[in-house]
């Protein structure tokens, strides 16, 4: 899911950077102090999750966890993922410094979208909440795959071919992430519902 250095054109890199800067600014602005530790923990989870490889299908893919991160953090997913991606590119050589902006948008934007789509479902009945959480984990990776295809459109020839390949490769990850997200939400609902978004509303 990380785009390598030296593939994208300058325009794509710059627009990715601008979007990430905007998202991070909004995220920091909306971030309230009491949740700093939570943001850090989820950032750490995302950082480590990409080391878990799922070797099913044509390519080598890894867990992303942007669904659960978005669900719990909302806009704060941007700074959280930016930090984690920066560290990944420095320590693991995943992605790269110049593509940081694009990679952050690819993973964090779906998080925010899922936060708005599925966040309200979490305080419904348990069955609805868990289904929503599964859909959240699934959709986040799905949207990320599409965004990846979109950013490659200017360099690779065929959008549909690339996108469908990416989506196919990530279907196992979508399923696994959906299940993980569902479990997390079920657990949090029982143990610490105040961590879920919209609890105080």
């Amino acid at each position: 899911m990380h785009i390598s250095e030296g593939i994208l054109s300058a325009q794509v890199l710059i627009s990715g950077g601008v979007l990430t800067a905007a998202g991070t600014a909004i995220g920091l602005k909306k971030l309230d102090y009491d949740r700093i530790a939570q943001v850090g923990m989820l950032s750490a989870a995302f950082f480590v999750a990409s080391l878990i490889h799922v070797n099913i299908g044509p390519s080598s893919v890894h867990l992303i966890l942007n669904g659960i991160v978005g669900l719990l953090l909302g806009w704060a997913a941007f700074p959280a993922l930016l930090v984690a991606l920066t560290l990944q590119s420095v320590f693991f050589q995943f992605g790269g410094i110049t593509v940081l902006g694009v990679n952050t948008v690819i993973m964090a934007l779906p998080s925010v979208v899922c936060y708005y789509l599925f966040g309200p479902l979490l305080h419904q009945k348990t069955a609805v909440a868990i289904t929503g959480a599964f859909a959240c984990g699934f959709t986040a990776v799905f949207l990320s795959s599409i965004l990846l295809g979109v950013s490659l459109v200017f360099t690779e020839q065929n959008f549909w071919a690339v996108s469908s390949l990416v989506i196919l490769a990530h279907i196992p990850v979508m399923m696994i992430e959906g299940i993980i997200t569902a479990f997390c939400v079920a657990f949090l609902k029982k143990v610490q519902p105040e961590l879920l978004p919209g609890f105080f509303k």
Binding site: I3, S4, G6
Partner: protein, 210 residues
Amino acid sequence: MKTARIVNKKTICKPFLIALAIWIITPPITVWAHKVIVFAWTEGDTVYTESKFSGGKRVNSGIIKVYAPDGRKLIEGRTNAAGEYSFTIPQKTDLKIVLDAGMGHRGEWTLMRDEIEGTSDLDTKQALVEKIAENRRDETLLPVPATGCADIKAGIEKALDKKLKPLIRRLNRIEHQNDGPALTDILGGLGYILGLIGIAAYVHSRRRGK
């Protein structure tokens, strides 16, 4: 609930400037791929390449392109199921081998000129034949030691090549086996994140103190 915001203009500017400074100071690291690794070595007049993802999975039918130093494309081909692709040395210069594994994955490996020159069988053989011929012409009186010497040299080189081949291959494999992130990298990253939480908490507490 009144939320305490940790962000205002001042607190944003400072870390941003620090981060910028760090970014400028840090030497440019060649960073690639999520990551795919391609590496290459020569045996005789053939270049062997091997490509894999950081999880250890081989790159099946990834596109390998070989470039001359001036940017001309010399060869293009696809890796097999084991992630391997080989080609004969097209010219004796540095060769840049680029792997495109699709979906934004890209790896690079540069094969140095001396690596290529050092192993070319063809050339040494050619040179030897010429040398022998020369020796025969010049030293008609003593042909035996000259040819004998050259023969021995060629023989030794051939034998060495043969014996060293598997060794070189194994060295290459070992060198690139542990390209995945080490435990120290993982712990280091987690440490950084904890540190950032700490900094944020510190900045906040200072502001509240004032």
